[in-house]
Symmetry: none
Subunit: 123 residues, 4 copies
DNA sequence: GTGGTCTAGACCACC
DNA sequence: GTGGTCTAGACCACA
């Protein structure tokens, strides 16, 4: 497993888990891999995997049952959606539109690029 | 002056300078503030301001005349534009589109959200 | 059955049993539920229930008759009372007082807060 | 520096810091010892000290300035007071009174013990 | 100098 | 088997 350099590994792991939840690959109530399993499968130190889990637990996205493992929380999907949406709208969007202004790109240009992107992904 | 936590301060400073160039607030050939002036006005360590200037100098956006100061380079505007464009299209857009997919947002939603966000900030 | 996160489950179970003894719900000489019965009724791993019983047996609060079951020991009530009292006065009280000092609470406040808390729970 | 066995060291460190804030030993806006300084002075691993700081930062009690260090947050005292009070009233008090019931101790007994405790500390 | 992250490895309590 | 904590030591970016 390869990680980007521009973000802490434990955050990238957390992101991947959130995506799994958003796409229903991991459903609410499901047990997720143990820290040891995960750390082996993605080749990181158990401490790093643990950090991802602790982080998600704080956010209420997963929870722990002593001696058994971690599970996807009940309202996990809603929480993730809410967090991602807020972050996107309040943090990313303003910067995106600012950049667009500076580059003289308008919404139509973006739509075009988006269409191109979608085509590529289908191909 | 306040900075975000998610990016090095010297990069945020460099960004602001680039914006000044893109919007023609600082024109090619203009002398820009000395490291000391800048560091005082935005309340950062002179080392940090220095780092921003070194960074921009490496990119050919500004240049230094010993004992006189820093100046906006001749083709600065083009260079900045090129860099920003490449970065936006190749790095930011893919992640933006990915997030949009996960959040089930389409291009029209974007424009709408942006409008709403702008209104809120005005209020 | 739900357990707190801040203490081992087997200790919480042991505590409940002790309370049953202190309140005379379980009298000295009484047979108490088998490990299997208990583990089913409160939904814990049998190993965990077993651990609670072993722990209480070590303290002389319950005893085992092979093939028959566990029983409340003769002087169980006295032992429990003694243990609880010592623990409360020597371990808990000092920390309670320390917290009260920090929070500028006196003894009267305590009683008042407790009354308020009780009312809330009833409501 | 010695720590109790019944609680994680990083939490005990956090507690001590909170007490320093409550007693105004560390005032709002003050810079607190760097992670390295702290870890040396109390003889723990820097990672452990770091964990305490991260924990307190999440709670909004301290904050970090890049490359400079950690500082006591503006409303730190209020936050700590609020947290401690809530925890004491909602978590500790019920258990305290439950134990008092079981031990047949009443509020007057507690007051007496408290008075004794105060005398001891003065002596 | 500051903090942040990661690895490695150990030990422990618990289920 | 599970997670949780701690130590040790390294590397890095940043101010």
């Amino acid at each position: 497993m390869e990680f980007r350099q521009d973000q802490a590994i434990y955050l990238q792991i957390a992101d991947i888990i959130c995506e799994n939840i958003l796409t229903d690959s991991w459903k609410e109530g499901d047990r997720i891999p143990s820290i040891r399993e995960l750390s082996v499968s993605i080749e990181v130190n158990p401490n790093t995997a643990m950090r991802s889990y602790s982080y998600l637990q704080e956010l209420g996205i997963i929870f722990n049952q002593r001696g058994i493992g971690y599970f996807v929380a009940d309202r996990a999907r809603d929480i993730v959606l809410e967090l991602k949406k807020n972050n996107f709208i309040n943090r990313e969007l303003p910067r995106i539109f600012k950049t667009m202004d500076l580059l003289h790109l308008n919404c139509d240009d973006l739509a075009e690029l988006y269409a191109a992107h979608t085509r590529e992904n289908k191909a």
